[in-house]
Structure formats: C-alpha cells, structure tokens
C-alpha cells in the first residue's frame, strides 16, 4: 500500500513535464520569431534549384487552384488549412532537408512557419517576399544603373540566366553560345615515385 502511494506520488510530480513535450514553448518560439534566419532570398533558392540541390524542398501553401495555375518547379502543394494534417507530417519533418514555404507574399508562409515551428519542425524557411518577389527579382530582373558596383551586375547576370532556366525567356541579348570552347589541356607528366632511400 505504502509503495503504491509512493509510486503514485512520483508519477504525479513527473506528469506535468511530459505533457506537450514535443511542442516548442512560447519563450523559445519568440526567440525563433525574432531571428530573421528563417527568410531565404529568391536568389538563393534559385541558385540552389539550378544546382539541383537535393537538400531543398519547396512547399507551396497556397490554395490548390493557385497551385495548379503556376508554381515553382518541384514544389509540393499543402494548402494552409490542411497544413497540420497527419499526411503532410513526413514532408515537413525531414532530416537534412531545408523546407521552403512559398505563398504569393510572405503572409501565409509566415503563418505556416509559426505553426510548423511550434510543432517542433526544424529547418523550415520562408521564401522572402514570396512569389511576388520571385517574379520581381528572378523573372523580371532590373538592369542595374551603370554606377552600381560589379556585384550588382553579377547578380543581374545570374538573374537573367535564372530567368531563362525557369522559363522566363528574356528577349535581351544574352551570350548564349552553347559551344564550350575546348581549353588547351596541359599534359601533366606523372612524377615517378621517389626511388631508393636508405
């Protein structure tokens, strides 16, 4: 009888801790909210997609209609209202994969991000500015002013190329030589293994 009571006492004391264990507490959620690292720029997403980076996974949180009208290549549709359905859990909770949430702007993506983060999912990102920013930056890049630094021109060239890659097809004159000039190959003679020794 006494033993049972002691066990029950232990159980009661430990119980409140185990409830909601896999949820991120509000204090930690606030820290995550204040950190701006959840935003990923369209340029970074584009360059990772062009490189066929397997560790990036796009999730479109818009409605099914908007998704079927247009989405980024390879994106999966999880409408915001179904975000917490069990069938999507394995897609949002992956190891070593950055899940990027996409909407037209970042409002829906941000809301989805808060809910995912509360559920304890890691590596969830928000496409900064959403598809609107994507189209402004990648699909319709603005030519930088002549006075801008070289980086701006590099970025512009990258965006032009990316725009072609994603089907934008700019009519601008781009250097599109498909032929790769064959580089002179320097024959390197193999050094013979060090001979002898003592």
């Amino acid at each position: 009888m006494g033993a049972v009571l002691i066990i029950v006492a232990f159980g009661l004391v430990l119980l409140p801790d185990s409830v909601n264990k896999d949820q991120v507490p509000p204090e930690k959620l606030l820290k995550e909210i204040m950190s701006q690292s959840r935003y990923i720029s369209p340029d970074l997403v584009a360059s990772r997609m062009i490189d066929e980076d397997p560790s990036i996974f796009l999730v479109d949180v818009r409605s099914a209609e908007e998704y079927s009208a247009y989405t980024l290549p390879g994106a999966l549709n999880i409408p915001l209202e179904n975000l917490l359905d069990n069938e999507w859990k394995p897609y949002l909770e992956q190891t070593g994969v950055d899940v990027v949430l996409i909407s037209n702007d970042n409002l829906y993506a941000e809301q989805a991000w808060v809910l995912c983060t509360r559920s304890g999912y890691k590596n969830i990102y928000v496409l900064k500015g959403g598809l609107n920013q994507w189209f402004a930056d990648i699909m319709q890049p603005q030519m930088p002013a002549p006075t801008e630094p070289a980086e701006a021109f590099d970025l512009y060239t990258f965006r032009k190329g990316a725009s072609k890659y994603f089907g934008g097809g700019s009519d601008d004159q781009m250097v599109t030589s498909n032929k790769i000039e064959s580089l002179p190959v320097i024959q390197r003679t193999k050094k013979s293994a060090a001979a002898g020794g003592c």
């Binding site: 004391v13 606030l30 909210i33 009208a69 209202e81 909407s103 941000e110 189209f135 402004a136 934008g168």
Partner: protein, 204 residues
C-alpha cells in the same frame, strides 16, 4: 506487537508520500507562458476572415493601438496614441499583465509593425496564449504613411497575398507558348530516421 509495526510502517509510508508531493510541488517550476489553444485551433483562427482591422477604422476610441516596432522607430512617429511594445518584449511580465487587463475590459487591441507580415508572428504567439481580443492592422505602418500622404490612395486595402501578376500567363507568354511548369508528381522525401535505442551493452 505485530499490529504496532504495521501501523508504524503505514505512518512512515504516508509521511514519505506527503513529503514527496510537497517537494515536487515546491521544486516544480510552472512554465511562465503556456499555449491555451492547440495548433489546429490556431490554424482555424488564421483562416478566419475577421483577424484584421482596416486603416479607416482605427479612429475608434475603444481600440488600443500597439506598435511592435523598435523604440527608435516608434520615437520617430507612430499611429495616433499607440503604445510601444517591441517584439522582444512581448512576453514580459508587465506586457502580459497589460494584455490580461485589456482582455478583462474587453478592449480590442490592434497591433502593427512596418508591414502586415512582420506583425503576424507576434500576433499568432499572443493568440495561441489565449489573448483573443487582439487583431492585426491591415497593411501596417508603411501603408498608413503612404495612405496618409495620398501616395497610393487612402483605401487601406488589404493587398497582401494577392499575386502581382498572373504567373501562369506570364510564363506562357515569356516562353513563347510553351507548357507551363506542371506540378511534379514524384516528390521524394527523406523522413526523419528514428533510431531505436539499443539495449545497454555489456560493460567490462
């Protein structure tokens, strides 16, 4: 004699029981902040249309305006008689006490930041902690400034999440009538591997 030992044992057990409970209650730190609604309930709230207050309606004196921007920006100017609660302070004790008071007085609290997006996450955090009298200012501070100076017309419309252009149409035109990128059907995932804990292996 046997009766006596039995009673004594029982007494000892009861004392230990009470002690453990007491120690547990004293040492157990209750979390300062708790969610009062589940994620699923929050999702329903997020998809409801009545989370926003339009710019035209903020002159109502029953509203409490809360500016979530940094103190530096707040001091340069704010909307009406808004009070400043920077995002970093939204879980502070005084702030929570204010929220509780406002909720008791059933005042509607309208929060804003530079734009709607940056006020959304703090708003969701508060809502999940049960302060259901909080609403978002549609558009945010930037929109307020531009509507006041008549740059974009003083509609205060909630323009967020509207596509800037018809994406599908744009791609179709740009790529000379080619097929629009159709959603990929074979999506690969790499699920989290849950490792089974192995039984403790032998020592020496």
């Amino acid at each position: 004699m046997i009766e006596l030992t039995k009673t004594r044992r029982l007494t000892v057990a009861t004392i230990i029981f009470v002690l453990i409970i007491l120690v547990g209650l004293i040492t157990f730190r209750r979390p300062d902040h708790k969610y009062t609604i589940t994620s699923q309930e929050m999702l329903t709230i997020v998809n409801a249309p009545d989370n926003f207050i339009q710019l035209n309606d903020i002159n109502n004196s029953a509203l409490v305006l809360v500016d979530l921007r940094q103190a530096y920006d707040f001091n340069k100017g704010t909307i009406g008689d808004a009070i400043n609660i920077p995002v970093s302070d939204i879980l502070d004790k005084e702030v929570i006490n204010m929220l509780i008071d406002w909720q008791k007085e059933s005042k509607t609290v309208v929060i804003f930041s530079d734009n709607l997006q940056s006020a959304t996450a703090p708003w969701m955090l508060w809502r999940q902690m049960g302060y259901d009298n909080i609403k978002l200012l549609s558009g945010g501070f930037c929109k307020y400034i531009s509507s006041r100076s008549g740059i974009e017309g003083a509609t205060g419309d909630n323009m967020t999440e509207k596509p800037a252009l018809d994406y599908g149409e744009f791609i179709k035109n740009a790529s000379g009538g080619q097929e629009v990128v159709t959603p990929n059907s074979t999506i690969q995932i790499s699920p989290i591997k849950r490792t089974k804990k192995s039984a403790a292996a032998g020592g020496c």
